[in-house]
C-alpha cells in the first residue's frame, strides 16, 4: 500500500500533454516528423529505422502538483496531502505515454515523386483523472459532507497497450502545397476503459424523515470495460500471448492521419495535421464490470413482531443486504463488446526561415522549396481526452548548424507548466542518424519538482538526395 501511494503520487503529481512531440514536429530531416504530420515537407529520399531503436519516446506527468509538493522534507505530509486533495479537481489528470518503433522505413517513388513510409510501432497510453469526489469521501468520510453528492462521474480511467501498422503517402500537390495521409491498423494488446460513469452517493439529513439520515445511491452506472486481460487473469496466459497480439490481435481498429504543409512565400510556411482519427473495436477476450441502479436506506427499521401471537422474527440485516444487491447489482461476468476512440491529436504551426538556403540557390531536388538553416515559429497542439481537449502552445528556434548537427529548442506553455524548455539534438554521420530530445530540461536538476517529463530518441539510416 505504501509503495502504491508513493508511485501514485509520484506520477499523479509529477502534467501533461503527454503525447505532444513538439520537438520532433517540423523537423524535416527526421522521419519521425511524418508521424506527427504525414504532409510534412521532408528533405530525405529514403529511411530505414534500426529495428526497436528507431524511435522511442516516453512521457509522464500530472496536472496540479509535483512529487516535491507532497514529499518535500520537513512539515506534515498529511496536511500537504489534504491540501492537494482539495486543490486538485476532476479535470486534473495523470498521463503516461510510451511509444516504441518496432520497424520503420520509407522511400521516395522514382515515378511519382511521392514519399511512401510504413512501419509498426507499439504504444502505451494511460490517462487517469483525479477522482476528486471519491478521494474526498475516502479521505474525509461523509460526516462533514451531509447533503453533498459524491459524483461517480469523477471516476475516469483509460489505459491501452496497442501496436499500430501504418502506411503513409506524402505527396506534393503544387510548389506551394504538400499533403499527406496515413492509414493505420490498430492491434489492441490490452485495454481498460471506465470513462462514462454516472450517479452519485449522498447522505441526506432528513429532519422530517423516519431517521436522522438517509443514505442514497442515485442513478448509479459505473462500468469498467476490459479487453485482452481476461486470458491473463483467468487463464494465466504468458507474455508470448501479448507478443502474439502485438502482431495480430482479435481486437482491431482502424484510423488515419492527415496533414499538409503550405508554403506561403519564400520564407513563411504553415502546417497542420490531425493524427489518430480512429477507433478500436473490442470484441474478444472481454470482461466487463458494472454496478448500476438506485438505492436509499434510512437504516434498519425495527418492527417489533408479536412473537407470542405467532409473528415471525425478521432478519433485518439479511433483508438490507438483499435489497442492496437487488437494487445495486454488481456484475463481474459480462462479456459485452465495446468501442474505444483513439485520442485524436491536432497540430498546427507557422514557420519563418532565415539565413542560408540549405538547398542552395537553385534546388532541383526538392521542387525548388527553400530550406533555411534557421527557423523560428510557433506550434499549437491539442489532444482529445475523455473530459475534453488538453492543449499546448510552443515557440521554437530550429537551427541546422552543419550537416552533422541540428538543434531545436522549444518553449511550451500549457495549463500545467509555464516553464517548459525542450531541446532536440539530431546528429548525422553519413547516413546514420541519432536524435535525442527532452523537454522540461530546467527541471532535470530535480525531477521531483517537475510536473511533467519526456524523452525521445532514435537511431536510423536516412538517405538524402544525391
Amino acid at each position: 500500500m505504501r509503495a502504491f501511494i508513493i508511485i501514485y503520487i509520484s506520477f499523479v503529481v509529477t502534467q501533461v500533454c503527454a503525447q505532444n512531440k513538439q520537438l520532433l514536429y517540423n523537423v524535416d530531416d527526421l522521419p519521425q516528423t511524418l508521424l506527427s504530420n504525414p504532409g510534412a515537407a521532408i528533405s530525405f529520399e529514403k529511411h530505414i529505422g534500426i529495428p526497436l531503436l528507431s524511435g522511442f519516446s516516453v512521457s509522464a506527468g500530472s496536472s496540479g502538483i509535483s512529487t516535491y509538493d507532497i514529499f518535500q522534507e520537513g512539515g506534515d505530509i498529511n496536511t500537504r496531502i489534504r491540501d492537494a486533495i482539495f486543490r486538485l479537481d476532476n479535470k486534473d489528470s495523470f498521463v503516461v505515454n510510451q511509444q516504441l518503433e518496432l520497424a520503420s522505413f520509407g522511400w521516395k517513388s522514382k515515378f511519382t515523386e511521392n514519399y511512401y513510409s510504413a512501419g509498426l510501432y507499439q504504444e502505451t497510453d494511460v490517462i487517469a483523472y483525479f477522482p476528486k469526489d471519491i478521494a474526498v469521501l475516502a479521505y474525509e468520510g461523509n460526516a462533514n459532507f451531509l447533503d453533498v453528492p459524491f459524483q461517480f462521474s469523477d471516476i475516469a480511467v483509460a489505459a491501452e497497450v496497442i501496436s499500430v501498422y501504418h502506411f503513409g503517402v506524402n505527396k506534393e500537390i503544387s510548389k506551394k502545397l504538400r499533403v499527406g495521409g496515413r492509414a493505420k491498423l490498430y492491434m489492441s494488446i490490452a485495454n481498460i476503459n471506465s470513462t462514462n460513469n454516472q450517479g452519485f452517493f449522498i447522505t441526506r439529513e432528513t429532519p422530517e424523515g423516519p431517521n436522522f439520515l438517509q443514505h442514497q445511491v442515485q442513478d448509479a452506472s459505473v462500468t469498467a470495460n476490459t479487453s485482452g486481460l481476461r486470458s491473463f487473469i483467468d487463464e494465466d496466459a504468458g507474455p508470448g500471448k501479448a507478443v502474439g497480439r502485438a502482431i495480430l490481435s482479435n481486437n482491431v481498429g482502424v484510423g488515419f492521419d492527415v496533414g499538409a504543409t503550405y508554403t506561403i512565400d519564400d520564407h513563411w510556411t504553415a502546417t497542420a495535421s490531425v493524427i489518430d482519427v480512429g477507433a478500436i473495436f473490442h470484441t474478444k477476450d472481454l470482461k466487463n464490470y458494472r454496478v448500476s441502479g438506485s438505492y436509499a436506506t434510512n437504516g434498519i427499521e425495527l418492527e417489533f413482531p408479536d412473537v407470542l401471537n405467532g409473528e415471525d422474527l425478521n432478519d433485518y440485516w439479511q433483508n438490507l443486504q438483499d435489497e442492496f444487491e437487488e437494487n445495486l447489482p454488481y456484475e463481474d461476468s459480462l462479456q459485452n463488446s465495446y468501442t474505444t476512440w483513439r485520442p485524436t491529436k491536432f497540430n498546427a504551426s507557422i514557420n519563418r526561415g532565415f539565413g542560408a538556403n540549405l538547398n542552395g540557390d537553385c534546388d532541383c531536388t526538392n521542387s525548388g522549396v527553400d530550406r533555411y538553416a534557421t527557423n523560428v515559429g510557433a506550434q499549437l497542439y491539442a489532444i482529445k481526452r475523455p473530459r475534453g481537449f488538453q492543449g499546448a502552445a510552443t515557440l521554437y528556434v530550429d537551427r541546422t548548424w552543419t550537416r552533422f548537427l541540428r538543434t531545436k529548442m522549444t518553449y511550451t506553455y500549457d495549463a500545467f507548466s509555464n516553464r517548459n524548455i525542450g531541446l532536440l539534438l539530431s546528429t548525422k554521420i553519413n547516413k546514420f542518424n541519432v536524435y535525442l530530445a527532452a523537454d522540461n530540461i530546467l527541471d532535470y536538476s530535480n525531477l521531483a519538482k517537475a510536473q511533467s517529463a519526456s524523452i525521445q530518441f532514435g537511431f536510423q539510416l536516412i538517405f538524402d538526395p544525391e
Binding site: 479521505y139 451531509l146 439520515l213 539534438l425
Partner: protein
C-alpha cells in the same frame, strides 16, 4: 572512422549530460510511513415507531411491559473497522406521547448472545399527550469501543412502567452512529 568515433563520443556526452544532471532531491519518501487517513463516517442505525398495540398485554396486573426486537449489525465486528476505530458516538432521539415512564435499552451482543455493551436512557413522558422529545448522546470510551467492536447483534428494548392510567400514545426512535477511523501504516 575518426569522425565516427568523434560522433559516438558526442552522442554519449549529450546522453550522459541528461542522465547525470537529472536527479530527484529534497524529497523524503520515507514520509509515506507517516501518512494517516482519518475519515469520519456518519451512519444510520435503527429506527422504529411503537404505538399502543405494541404494549398491549393479557396480564392487566403487569407493571412492566417490554417491547423488544433484535437485528444483526455485522459491520460492528468487521476486522477492518475494529482495527482502525478511534472514536464512536451514538446519537438517539425519541419523540413520545405516552404518559407512562419509559426507558430505552440498547444491548450490543456478541455472536453467542452475550451482552458486550449497553446504552440505557430514560424517555421523557408526556403528561398531556403532546410530543415530548428526548435526545441522548453517548461518546464511547476506549473500553466501550472494544466492547462494541466485539458485537454483531443489537437488541433494543423499550420498557414501559404502568401507572394505572390508560396506555395510549406513540413513540418513535431515531439513531445514528458517528465513527472516527484512523488508517495508518498503510
Amino acid at each position: 572512422m575518426k569522425y565516427y568515433l568523434l560522433y559516438v563520443r558526442f552522442v554519449a556526452l549529450i546522453t550522459s549530460f541528461f542522465i547525470c544532471t537529472s536527479c530527484v532531491s529534497d524529497v523524503d519518501f520515507d514520509q509515506a510511513q507517516d501518512v494517516v487517513i482519518s475519515p469520519t463516517v456518519d451512519a444510520s442505525l435503527i429506527f422504529f415507531t411503537l404505538d399502543t398495540s405494541d404494549f398491549e398485554t393479557v396480564d392487566t396486573q403487569e407493571v412492566i411491559i417490554t417491547a423488544r426486537d433484535t437485528t444483526r449489525l455485522e459491520f460492528l465486528d468487521d476486522d477492518f473497522i475494529r482495527e482502525n476505530l478511534k472514536e464512536v458516538t451514538l446519537d438517539f432521539q425519541v419523540d413520545n406521547t405516552f404518559g407512562q415512564s419509559l426507558v430505552n435499552r440498547a444491548s450490543f451482543l456478541n455472536g453467542g448472545g452475550q451482552e458486550q455493551f449497553v446504552v440505557f436512557f430514560e424517555i421523557t413522558s408526556s403528561t398531556d399527550g403532546s410530543v415530548q422529545r428526548t435526545e441522548f448522546t453517548q461518546v464511547l470510551s476506549e473500553e466501550d469501543i472494544q466492547a462494541i467492536s466485539n458485537s454483531r447483534i443489537l437488541a433494543n428494548e423499550v420498557i414501559l412502567t404502568t401507572n394505572g392510567a390508560p396506555i395510549n400514545g406513540e413513540l418513535s426512535l431515531q439513531s445514528k452512529v458517528l465513527y472516527s477511523l484512523e488508517f495508518s501504516d498503510l
